[in-house]
Protein backbone atom coordinates (compact mmCIF):
# COMPACT_ATOMS: atom_id res chain seq x y z
CA UNK A 1 0.00 0.00 0.00
CA UNK A 2 1.30 3.43 -0.86
CA UNK A 3 2.23 5.59 2.08
CA UNK A 4 -0.11 8.42 2.89
CA UNK A 5 1.53 11.57 4.22
CA UNK A 6 1.87 13.01 6.74
CA UNK A 7 2.40 9.94 8.89
CA UNK A 8 0.96 10.44 12.37
CA UNK A 9 3.24 9.07 15.06
CA UNK A 10 2.18 11.29 17.93
CA UNK A 11 -0.58 9.16 19.42
CA UNK A 12 0.29 10.08 23.00
CA UNK A 13 -0.86 13.59 22.29
CA UNK A 14 -4.10 12.42 20.70
CA UNK A 15 -5.47 9.63 18.53
CA UNK A 16 -7.71 9.60 15.51
CA UNK A 17 -11.22 8.43 16.33
CA UNK A 18 -11.90 4.87 15.31
CA UNK A 19 -14.54 4.92 12.52
CA UNK A 20 -16.63 2.49 14.60
CA UNK A 21 -16.65 5.09 17.37
CA UNK A 22 -17.86 7.84 15.07
CA UNK A 23 -20.54 5.55 13.72
CA UNK A 24 -21.82 4.86 17.22
CA UNK A 25 -21.91 8.58 18.04
CA UNK A 26 -23.78 9.92 15.02
CA UNK A 27 -27.36 9.01 15.97
CA UNK A 28 -26.93 10.79 19.29
CA UNK A 29 -26.50 14.16 17.58
CA UNK A 30 -29.70 14.06 15.60
CA UNK A 31 -32.33 11.42 16.32
CA UNK A 32 -31.37 10.44 19.85
CA UNK A 33 -30.61 13.90 21.15
CA UNK A 34 -32.35 13.65 24.50
CA UNK A 35 -31.10 14.98 27.83
CA UNK A 36 -30.23 12.03 30.07
CA UNK A 37 -31.63 13.88 33.05
CA UNK A 38 -35.06 14.24 31.43
CA UNK A 39 -36.89 11.71 33.50
CA UNK A 40 -40.32 11.93 31.98
CA UNK A 41 -40.07 11.10 28.32
CA UNK A 42 -38.56 8.60 25.98
CA UNK A 43 -35.90 10.99 24.64
CA UNK A 44 -34.45 11.27 28.12
CA UNK A 45 -34.70 7.56 28.82
CA UNK A 46 -33.00 6.75 25.55
CA UNK A 47 -30.12 9.11 26.35
CA UNK A 48 -29.83 7.82 29.90
CA UNK A 49 -29.67 4.25 28.65
CA UNK A 50 -26.90 5.20 26.24
CA UNK A 51 -24.92 6.96 28.98
CA UNK A 52 -25.33 4.03 31.34
CA UNK A 53 -24.15 1.66 28.68
CA UNK A 54 -21.02 3.79 28.16
CA UNK A 55 -20.47 3.83 31.91
CA UNK A 56 -20.52 0.04 31.86
CA UNK A 57 -18.15 -0.12 28.92
CA UNK A 58 -15.67 2.15 30.67
CA UNK A 59 -16.08 0.43 34.03
CA UNK A 60 -15.24 -2.84 32.31
CA UNK A 61 -12.01 -1.61 30.73
CA UNK A 62 -10.73 -0.26 34.07
CA UNK A 63 -11.97 -3.17 36.14
CA UNK A 64 -14.43 -1.16 38.22
CA UNK A 65 -16.93 -3.14 40.25
CA UNK A 66 -19.82 -0.77 39.70
CA UNK A 67 -20.47 1.44 36.64
CA UNK A 68 -21.81 4.12 39.01
CA UNK A 69 -18.19 4.69 40.04
CA UNK A 70 -17.53 6.28 36.64
CA UNK A 71 -18.09 10.05 36.57
CA UNK A 72 -18.00 11.80 33.21
CA UNK A 73 -15.93 14.95 32.79
CA UNK A 74 -14.65 17.03 29.91
CA UNK A 75 -11.38 15.11 29.72
CA UNK A 76 -8.23 14.06 31.51
CA UNK A 77 -7.32 17.51 32.73
CA UNK A 78 -10.70 18.02 34.36
CA UNK A 79 -10.62 14.53 35.87
CA UNK A 80 -7.25 15.23 37.44
CA UNK A 81 -8.41 18.62 38.71
CA UNK A 82 -11.52 17.05 40.19
CA UNK A 83 -9.60 14.22 41.83
CA UNK A 84 -6.88 16.34 43.39
CA UNK A 85 -8.86 19.43 44.31
CA UNK A 86 -11.89 17.35 45.24
CA UNK A 87 -9.93 15.26 47.73
CA UNK A 88 -7.97 18.24 49.01
CA UNK A 89 -11.15 20.10 49.87
CA UNK A 90 -13.08 17.12 51.20
CA UNK A 91 -10.34 15.82 53.47
CA UNK A 92 -8.91 19.16 54.60
CA UNK A 93 -9.73 18.34 58.23
CA UNK A 94 -7.75 15.14 58.01
CA UNK A 95 -4.59 16.60 56.55
CA UNK A 96 -3.05 18.92 54.01
CA UNK A 97 -0.30 16.82 52.48
CA UNK A 98 -0.22 15.27 49.00
CA UNK A 99 2.43 12.95 47.63
CA UNK A 100 3.00 12.85 43.89
CA UNK A 101 5.92 12.30 41.52
CA UNK A 102 8.23 14.56 39.58
CA UNK A 103 7.12 13.15 36.21
CA UNK A 104 3.38 13.75 36.38
CA UNK A 105 1.75 15.49 33.48
CA UNK A 106 1.39 19.25 33.56
CA UNK A 107 -2.26 19.10 34.64
CA UNK A 108 -1.33 17.27 37.84
CA UNK A 109 1.68 19.41 38.61
CA UNK A 110 -0.19 22.64 38.01
CA UNK A 111 -3.05 21.57 40.26
CA UNK A 112 -0.50 20.69 42.95
CA UNK A 113 1.14 24.09 42.58
CA UNK A 114 -2.21 25.79 43.03
CA UNK A 115 -2.97 23.69 46.09
CA UNK A 116 0.40 24.67 47.53
CA UNK A 117 -0.60 28.31 47.19
CA UNK A 118 -3.72 27.46 49.18
CA UNK A 119 -1.91 26.02 52.15
CA UNK A 120 -1.41 22.43 51.08
CA UNK A 121 1.94 20.75 51.11
CA UNK A 122 3.04 18.62 48.19
CA UNK A 123 5.98 16.24 48.01
CA UNK A 124 7.21 15.55 44.48
CA UNK A 125 8.91 12.20 44.76
CA UNK A 126 11.83 11.79 42.37
CA UNK A 127 11.96 8.81 40.04
CA UNK A 128 14.73 6.42 39.10
CA UNK A 129 16.57 6.84 35.79
CA UNK A 130 14.18 4.34 34.19
CA UNK A 131 11.20 6.44 35.30
CA UNK A 132 9.98 4.10 38.00
CA UNK A 133 8.98 5.44 41.38
CA UNK A 134 11.03 3.92 44.14
CA UNK A 135 8.59 2.50 46.68
CA UNK A 136 10.81 3.20 49.66
CA UNK A 137 11.16 6.83 48.64
CA UNK A 138 7.42 7.02 48.22
CA UNK A 139 6.88 5.44 51.62
CA UNK A 140 9.23 7.88 53.26
CA UNK A 141 7.42 10.82 51.71
CA UNK A 142 4.19 9.90 53.52
CA UNK A 143 3.41 11.76 56.72
CA UNK A 144 0.52 11.63 59.16
CA UNK A 145 -0.93 14.60 57.26
CA UNK A 146 -0.94 12.82 53.90
CA UNK A 147 -4.44 12.62 52.42
CA UNK A 148 -3.65 11.64 48.85
CA UNK A 149 -1.07 9.83 46.75
CA UNK A 150 -1.30 10.71 43.08
CA UNK A 151 0.81 8.81 40.58
CA UNK A 152 0.58 8.48 36.84
CA UNK A 153 -0.02 4.92 35.75
CA UNK A 154 2.06 5.24 32.59
CA UNK A 155 4.11 8.22 31.58
CA UNK A 156 3.12 10.35 28.62
CA UNK A 157 6.65 11.01 27.41
CA UNK A 158 8.72 7.93 28.10
CA UNK A 159 5.93 5.41 28.60
CA UNK A 160 7.25 3.96 31.84
CA UNK A 161 4.54 1.90 33.57
CA UNK A 162 4.52 2.15 37.34
CA UNK A 163 4.00 -0.79 39.62
CA UNK A 164 0.54 0.44 40.58
CA UNK A 165 -0.34 -2.65 42.57
CA UNK A 166 2.63 -2.12 44.86
CA UNK A 167 1.78 1.56 45.20
CA UNK A 168 -1.83 0.56 45.86
CA UNK A 169 -0.77 -1.79 48.64
CA UNK A 170 1.29 0.96 50.22
CA UNK A 171 -1.66 3.37 50.06
CA UNK A 172 -3.99 0.80 51.61
CA UNK A 173 -1.49 0.02 54.34
CA UNK A 174 -1.32 3.70 55.23
CA UNK A 175 -5.03 4.32 54.72
CA UNK A 176 -4.39 7.00 52.10
CA UNK A 177 -6.47 7.62 48.99
CA UNK A 178 -4.67 6.72 45.76
CA UNK A 179 -5.29 8.58 42.52
CA UNK A 180 -3.92 7.14 39.30
CA UNK A 181 -3.58 9.36 36.27
CA UNK A 182 -4.23 6.62 33.77
CA UNK A 183 -4.86 8.81 30.75
CA UNK A 184 -2.04 7.11 28.85
CA UNK A 185 -2.63 3.61 30.18
CA UNK A 186 -6.35 2.91 29.89
CA UNK A 187 -7.22 0.99 26.78
CA UNK A 188 -3.58 0.31 26.01
CA UNK A 189 -2.49 -1.97 28.83
CA UNK A 190 -4.49 -3.90 31.42
CA UNK A 191 -5.79 -1.55 34.10
CA UNK A 192 -7.73 -2.89 37.06
CA UNK A 193 -8.70 -0.54 39.85
CA UNK A 194 -9.68 -3.43 42.10
CA UNK A 195 -6.51 -5.43 41.65
CA UNK A 196 -4.30 -2.35 41.95
CA UNK A 197 -6.15 -0.78 44.86
CA UNK A 198 -6.80 2.47 43.01
CA UNK A 199 -9.39 4.78 44.59
CA UNK A 200 -9.55 7.47 41.92
CA UNK A 201 -8.56 7.10 38.30
CA UNK A 202 -8.46 9.67 35.52
CA UNK A 203 -8.84 8.77 31.87
CA UNK A 204 -9.81 10.41 28.62
CA UNK A 205 -11.50 9.38 25.39
CA UNK A 206 -9.30 11.07 22.82
CA UNK A 207 -6.28 8.95 23.68
CA UNK A 208 -8.19 5.71 23.07
CA UNK A 209 -9.54 6.46 19.58
CA UNK A 210 -12.56 8.27 20.96
CA UNK A 211 -13.67 11.90 20.65
CA UNK A 212 -12.01 14.92 22.24
CA UNK A 213 -13.95 16.70 24.97
CA UNK A 214 -14.88 13.83 27.23
CA UNK A 215 -13.11 11.98 29.99
CA UNK A 216 -13.93 10.14 33.16
CA UNK A 217 -12.99 9.98 36.79
CA UNK A 218 -13.41 6.70 38.55
CA UNK A 219 -14.42 7.31 42.16
CA UNK A 220 -14.41 4.27 44.43
CA UNK A 221 -17.70 3.67 46.24
CA UNK A 222 -16.70 0.80 48.50
CA UNK A 223 -13.71 -0.04 50.67
CA UNK A 224 -13.18 2.83 51.09
CA UNK A 225 -16.02 5.06 49.95
CA UNK A 226 -14.18 8.04 48.51
CA UNK A 227 -15.81 11.42 48.62
CA UNK A 228 -14.77 14.41 46.61
CA UNK A 229 -15.93 18.00 46.54
CA UNK A 230 -17.17 19.05 43.09
CA UNK A 231 -15.45 21.69 40.98
CA UNK A 232 -18.66 22.52 39.15
CA UNK A 233 -21.90 23.03 40.99
CA UNK A 234 -25.25 22.90 39.28
CA UNK A 235 -27.94 20.35 38.71
CA UNK A 236 -26.25 17.69 40.78
CA UNK A 237 -25.51 15.43 37.85
CA UNK A 238 -23.01 12.60 38.22
CA UNK A 239 -23.95 12.00 41.84
CA UNK A 240 -23.30 15.63 42.62
CA UNK A 241 -19.66 15.41 41.74
CA UNK A 242 -19.87 17.00 38.32
CA UNK A 243 -22.87 19.04 37.34
CA UNK A 244 -23.62 19.90 33.75
CA UNK A 245 -25.55 18.37 30.89
CA UNK A 246 -23.80 15.23 29.80
CA UNK A 247 -22.44 15.33 26.25
CA UNK A 248 -24.24 12.17 25.25
CA UNK A 249 -22.69 11.70 21.77
CA UNK A 250 -19.20 12.08 23.20
CA UNK A 251 -19.97 9.72 26.04
CA UNK A 252 -21.38 7.14 23.65
CA UNK A 253 -18.19 7.44 21.59
CA UNK A 254 -16.03 7.16 24.70
CA UNK A 255 -17.89 4.00 25.74
CA UNK A 256 -17.57 2.42 22.33
CA UNK A 257 -13.88 3.35 22.17
CA UNK A 258 -13.29 1.72 25.55
CA UNK A 259 -15.19 -1.35 24.47
CA UNK A 260 -13.10 -1.74 21.30
CA UNK A 261 -9.88 -1.24 23.28
CA UNK A 262 -10.94 -3.97 25.65
CA UNK A 263 -11.51 -6.32 22.73
CA UNK A 264 -8.30 -5.65 20.83
CA UNK A 265 -5.89 -4.60 23.60
CA UNK A 266 -3.86 -7.77 23.86
CA UNK A 267 -3.41 -8.25 20.14
CA UNK A 268 -2.87 -4.56 19.46
CA UNK A 269 -0.31 -4.28 22.23
CA UNK A 270 1.71 -7.14 20.81
CA UNK A 271 1.54 -5.74 17.30
CA UNK A 272 2.53 -2.22 18.34
CA UNK A 273 5.33 -3.40 20.60
CA UNK A 274 6.75 -5.35 17.67
CA UNK A 275 6.59 -2.34 15.38
CA UNK A 276 8.01 -0.10 18.10
CA UNK A 277 10.90 -2.50 18.66
CA UNK A 278 11.53 -2.57 14.93
CA UNK A 279 11.73 1.22 14.88
CA UNK A 280 13.92 1.28 17.96
CA UNK A 281 16.36 -1.31 16.56
CA UNK A 282 16.54 0.47 13.24
CA UNK A 283 17.37 3.81 14.83
CA UNK A 284 19.71 2.61 17.56
CA UNK A 285 21.69 0.39 15.21
CA UNK A 286 22.20 3.21 12.72
CA UNK A 287 22.93 6.15 14.99
CA UNK A 288 25.64 6.26 17.60
CA UNK A 289 25.00 8.10 20.84
CA UNK A 290 21.25 7.74 20.61
CA UNK A 291 19.82 6.94 24.03
CA UNK A 292 16.57 5.23 24.90
CA UNK A 293 14.65 7.19 27.52
CA UNK A 294 12.52 5.39 30.08
CA UNK A 295 12.33 1.79 31.10
CA UNK A 296 13.44 -0.70 28.42
CA UNK A 297 10.72 -3.21 29.32
CA UNK A 298 8.14 -1.66 31.62
CA UNK A 299 6.78 0.80 29.12
CA UNK A 300 3.76 1.33 26.94
CA UNK A 301 3.86 -0.85 23.82
CA UNK A 302 3.35 2.09 21.48
CA UNK A 303 5.92 4.42 23.03
CA UNK A 304 9.49 5.07 21.94
CA UNK A 305 11.50 7.99 23.27
CA UNK A 306 15.06 8.55 22.14
CA UNK A 307 17.55 11.34 22.77
CA UNK A 308 19.94 12.03 19.92
CA UNK A 309 23.07 13.58 21.37
CA UNK A 310 24.38 16.73 19.63
CA UNK A 311 21.17 17.59 17.77
CA UNK A 312 18.29 19.66 19.02
CA UNK A 313 14.84 18.07 19.00
CA UNK A 314 12.88 20.78 17.24
CA UNK A 315 15.37 20.81 14.38
CA UNK A 316 14.87 17.06 14.00
CA UNK A 317 11.09 17.51 13.89
CA UNK A 318 11.49 20.31 11.35
CA UNK A 319 13.33 17.94 9.07
CA UNK A 320 10.51 15.42 9.36
CA UNK A 321 7.37 17.48 9.69
CA UNK A 322 6.46 17.59 6.02
CA UNK A 323 5.91 13.86 6.05
CA UNK A 324 5.45 12.88 9.67
CA UNK A 325 4.14 14.14 12.99
CA UNK A 326 6.23 13.45 16.09
CA UNK A 327 6.96 15.33 19.27
CA UNK A 328 10.03 16.42 21.17
CA UNK A 329 11.04 17.30 24.71
CA UNK A 330 12.92 20.28 23.33
CA UNK A 331 12.24 23.63 24.94
CA UNK A 332 11.45 25.05 21.53
CA UNK A 333 8.42 22.81 21.20
CA UNK A 334 7.04 23.43 24.68
CA UNK A 335 4.79 26.26 25.71
CA UNK A 336 6.97 26.91 28.73
CA UNK A 337 10.22 27.20 26.76
CA UNK A 338 11.81 24.73 29.14
CA UNK A 339 13.12 21.38 28.02
CA UNK A 340 11.24 18.27 29.11
CA UNK A 341 11.14 18.06 32.89
CA UNK A 342 10.31 14.39 32.53
CA UNK A 343 13.55 13.54 30.73
CA UNK A 344 15.31 15.85 33.18
CA UNK A 345 13.79 14.00 36.15
CA UNK A 346 15.25 10.76 34.81
CA UNK A 347 18.65 12.29 35.39
CA UNK A 348 19.49 13.09 31.77
CA UNK A 349 21.38 16.29 31.06
CA UNK A 350 19.42 19.27 29.83
CA UNK A 351 21.16 18.85 26.49
CA UNK A 352 19.71 15.35 26.12
CA UNK A 353 16.30 16.60 27.20
CA UNK A 354 16.46 19.14 24.35
CA UNK A 355 17.42 16.29 22.05
CA UNK A 356 14.59 13.88 22.85
CA UNK A 357 12.10 12.70 20.26
CA UNK A 358 8.95 10.77 21.07
CA UNK A 359 7.55 8.34 18.53
CA UNK A 360 4.12 7.11 19.53
CA UNK A 361 2.45 4.49 17.39
CA UNK A 362 -1.25 3.74 17.20
CA UNK A 363 -3.94 1.39 15.98
CA UNK A 364 -3.52 2.41 12.35
CA UNK A 365 0.29 2.53 12.21
CA UNK A 366 1.74 0.24 9.54
CA UNK A 367 5.12 -1.39 9.15
CA UNK A 368 5.76 0.72 6.03
CA UNK A 369 5.16 3.88 8.05
CA UNK A 370 7.54 2.73 10.74
CA UNK A 371 10.22 1.95 8.16
CA UNK A 372 9.77 5.29 6.48
CA UNK A 373 9.88 7.34 9.67
CA UNK A 374 12.85 5.35 10.93
CA UNK A 375 14.84 5.84 7.74
CA UNK A 376 14.04 9.54 7.53
CA UNK A 377 14.87 10.10 11.19
CA UNK A 378 18.27 8.53 10.66
CA UNK A 379 18.88 10.76 7.62
CA UNK A 380 17.81 13.93 9.39
CA UNK A 381 19.82 13.24 12.54
CA UNK A 382 22.92 12.50 10.48
CA UNK A 383 22.48 15.65 8.44
CA UNK A 384 22.01 17.78 11.55
CA UNK A 385 25.04 16.26 13.20
CA UNK A 386 27.13 17.35 10.24
CA UNK A 387 25.89 20.83 11.08
CA UNK A 388 26.40 20.50 14.82
CA UNK A 389 29.36 22.20 16.50
CA UNK A 390 28.88 19.87 19.47
CA UNK A 391 29.24 16.78 17.31
CA UNK A 392 32.34 18.25 15.73
CA UNK A 393 33.89 18.98 19.13
CA UNK A 394 33.00 15.55 20.45
CA UNK A 395 34.54 13.91 17.39
CA UNK A 396 37.71 15.91 18.01
CA UNK A 397 37.77 14.37 21.45
CA UNK A 398 36.81 17.53 23.31
CA UNK A 399 34.85 16.89 26.49
CA UNK A 400 31.87 19.21 26.12
CA UNK A 401 31.67 19.62 29.86
CA UNK A 402 35.20 21.05 29.88
CA UNK A 403 34.11 24.05 27.82
CA UNK A 404 33.09 27.17 29.65
CA UNK A 405 29.82 27.89 27.87
CA UNK A 406 28.69 31.44 27.75
CA UNK A 407 25.00 30.95 28.33
CA UNK A 408 22.71 33.87 27.57
Amino acid sequence: MALKFPIFMDSQSTTPADPRVVEAMIPYFTEKFGHPASRNHSFGWEAETAVDRAREQIAKVIGARDPKEVIFTSGGTESINLALKGVAEMYREKGNHIVTTAIEQRASLDVCKRLERHGYEVTYVPVRPDGLVDLETLRQAITDKTILISVMFANNEVGTIQDMSAIGRLAKEKGIILHADATQAVGKIPVNVEAAGIDLLSCTAHLIYGPKGVGALYVRRKAPRVRIAPLIDGGGHERGMRSGTLPVPLIVGFGRAAEICGEVMTEEGVRLAKLRDRLQDMILSNIDEAYLNGHPERRLPHNLNISFAYVEGESVLMGLNKESALSSGSACTSSTLEPSYVIGALGASAELAHSSIRFSLHRFTTEEEVDHVGARTIEVVKRLREMSPLYELAKEGVDLKSIHWKAE
Binding site: E314, M387, S388, P389, I403, A407
Partner: protein, 136 residues
Protein backbone atom coordinates in the same frame (compact mmCIF):
# COMPACT_ATOMS: atom_id res chain seq x y z
CA UNK B 1 3.17 27.55 14.52
CA UNK B 2 4.37 27.39 10.94
CA UNK B 3 7.84 28.49 9.96
CA UNK B 4 8.42 31.34 7.53
CA UNK B 5 9.49 30.35 4.04
CA UNK B 6 12.92 31.84 4.57
CA UNK B 7 13.52 29.85 7.74
CA UNK B 8 12.50 26.67 5.94
CA UNK B 9 14.77 27.53 3.02
CA UNK B 10 17.80 28.12 5.24
CA UNK B 11 17.03 24.97 7.20
CA UNK B 12 16.73 22.85 4.07
CA UNK B 13 19.60 24.52 2.23
CA UNK B 14 21.87 25.94 4.87
CA UNK B 15 24.52 28.25 3.42
CA UNK B 16 28.14 27.88 4.37
CA UNK B 17 27.98 24.95 6.75
CA UNK B 18 31.40 23.84 7.92
CA UNK B 19 34.60 24.85 9.60
CA UNK B 20 37.88 26.31 8.40
CA UNK B 21 40.95 24.16 8.74
CA UNK B 22 42.72 24.96 11.97
CA UNK B 23 45.49 27.49 11.53
CA UNK B 24 44.02 29.10 8.40
CA UNK B 25 45.22 32.71 8.42
CA UNK B 26 42.66 35.47 8.87
CA UNK B 27 40.11 33.31 10.67
CA UNK B 28 38.10 34.47 13.67
CA UNK B 29 35.86 32.04 15.53
CA UNK B 30 32.89 32.67 17.79
CA UNK B 31 31.33 29.91 19.86
CA UNK B 32 28.26 31.05 21.76
CA UNK B 33 25.30 29.57 23.58
CA UNK B 34 25.26 26.49 25.77
CA UNK B 35 24.18 22.89 25.21
CA UNK B 36 21.90 22.93 28.24
CA UNK B 37 20.05 25.90 26.78
CA UNK B 38 19.49 24.01 23.55
CA UNK B 39 21.44 26.44 21.36
CA UNK B 40 25.10 26.53 20.42
CA UNK B 41 26.42 28.44 17.43
CA UNK B 42 29.90 28.32 16.02
CA UNK B 43 30.48 31.06 13.51
CA UNK B 44 33.72 31.70 11.68
CA UNK B 45 34.90 34.48 9.42
CA UNK B 46 37.87 34.43 7.12
CA UNK B 47 39.29 37.87 6.49
CA UNK B 48 41.50 38.71 3.56
CA UNK B 49 44.48 40.13 5.37
CA UNK B 50 45.31 42.45 2.48
CA UNK B 51 41.93 43.99 1.88
CA UNK B 52 40.38 43.57 5.33
CA UNK B 53 37.28 42.11 3.71
CA UNK B 54 35.49 39.02 5.02
CA UNK B 55 35.92 36.74 2.04
CA UNK B 56 34.35 33.66 3.55
CA UNK B 57 32.24 32.63 6.54
CA UNK B 58 31.14 29.30 7.92
CA UNK B 59 28.85 28.08 10.66
CA UNK B 60 27.77 25.07 12.61
CA UNK B 61 24.73 25.25 14.85
CA UNK B 62 23.14 23.02 17.46
CA UNK B 63 19.66 24.40 17.87
CA UNK B 64 16.21 24.72 16.46
CA UNK B 65 15.39 25.51 12.84
CA UNK B 66 15.32 29.23 13.53
CA UNK B 67 18.75 29.09 15.15
CA UNK B 68 20.12 27.24 12.13
CA UNK B 69 18.48 29.76 9.79
CA UNK B 70 19.75 32.75 11.79
CA UNK B 71 23.33 31.56 11.65
CA UNK B 72 23.08 30.52 8.01
CA UNK B 73 21.77 33.98 7.13
CA UNK B 74 24.51 35.59 9.19
CA UNK B 75 27.23 33.87 7.17
CA UNK B 76 25.62 35.11 3.95
CA UNK B 77 25.54 38.66 5.21
CA UNK B 78 29.08 38.58 6.54
CA UNK B 79 30.68 37.74 3.23
CA UNK B 80 31.95 40.81 1.41
CA UNK B 81 31.77 43.07 4.43
CA UNK B 82 34.69 44.61 6.25
CA UNK B 83 35.13 43.74 9.89
CA UNK B 84 33.74 47.13 10.89
CA UNK B 85 30.71 46.78 8.64
CA UNK B 86 30.07 43.29 9.97
CA UNK B 87 29.92 44.64 13.50
CA UNK B 88 26.86 46.63 12.48
CA UNK B 89 24.68 43.58 11.80
CA UNK B 90 21.89 43.64 14.35
CA UNK B 91 19.71 40.84 15.60
CA UNK B 92 16.64 42.85 14.57
CA UNK B 93 17.83 42.72 10.95
CA UNK B 94 17.81 38.93 11.22
CA UNK B 95 14.37 38.92 12.86
CA UNK B 96 12.97 41.05 10.05
CA UNK B 97 14.59 39.08 7.25
CA UNK B 98 13.52 35.67 8.60
CA UNK B 99 10.21 36.91 10.04
CA UNK B 100 11.00 35.26 13.33
CA UNK B 101 8.15 35.11 15.86
CA UNK B 102 8.74 36.59 19.33
CA UNK B 103 9.65 33.23 20.89
CA UNK B 104 12.48 32.86 18.38
CA UNK B 105 14.06 36.28 18.86
CA UNK B 106 16.69 34.73 21.12
CA UNK B 107 17.96 32.80 18.06
CA UNK B 108 18.72 36.09 16.33
CA UNK B 109 20.32 37.45 19.49
CA UNK B 110 22.56 34.42 19.62
CA UNK B 111 23.50 34.91 15.96
CA UNK B 112 24.47 38.53 16.68
CA UNK B 113 26.50 37.33 19.66
CA UNK B 114 28.20 34.78 17.43
CA UNK B 115 29.11 37.47 14.89
CA UNK B 116 30.51 39.70 17.64
CA UNK B 117 32.45 36.83 19.16
CA UNK B 118 33.95 35.87 15.80
CA UNK B 119 34.94 39.49 15.10
CA UNK B 120 36.46 39.87 18.56
CA UNK B 121 38.41 36.65 18.13
CA UNK B 122 39.67 37.80 14.75
CA UNK B 123 40.73 41.19 16.16
CA UNK B 124 42.51 39.57 19.04
CA UNK B 125 44.45 37.25 16.78
CA UNK B 126 45.14 39.71 14.01
CA UNK B 127 45.42 43.02 15.77
CA UNK B 128 48.28 44.39 13.66
CA UNK B 129 46.80 43.26 10.36
CA UNK B 130 43.43 44.60 11.33
CA UNK B 131 44.92 47.92 12.34
CA UNK B 132 46.64 48.11 8.94
CA UNK B 133 43.53 47.19 7.01
CA UNK B 134 41.26 49.65 8.69
CA UNK B 135 43.73 52.55 8.94
CA UNK B 136 42.40 55.52 7.06
Amino acid sequence: MAYSEKVVDHYNNPRNVGSFTKGTPGVGTGLVGAPECGDVMKLQIKVNLDTGMIEDAKFKTFGCGSAIASSSLATEWLKGKTVDEAAKIKNTDIVNELKLPPVKIHCSVLAEDAIKAALADYREKHAPADARASSE
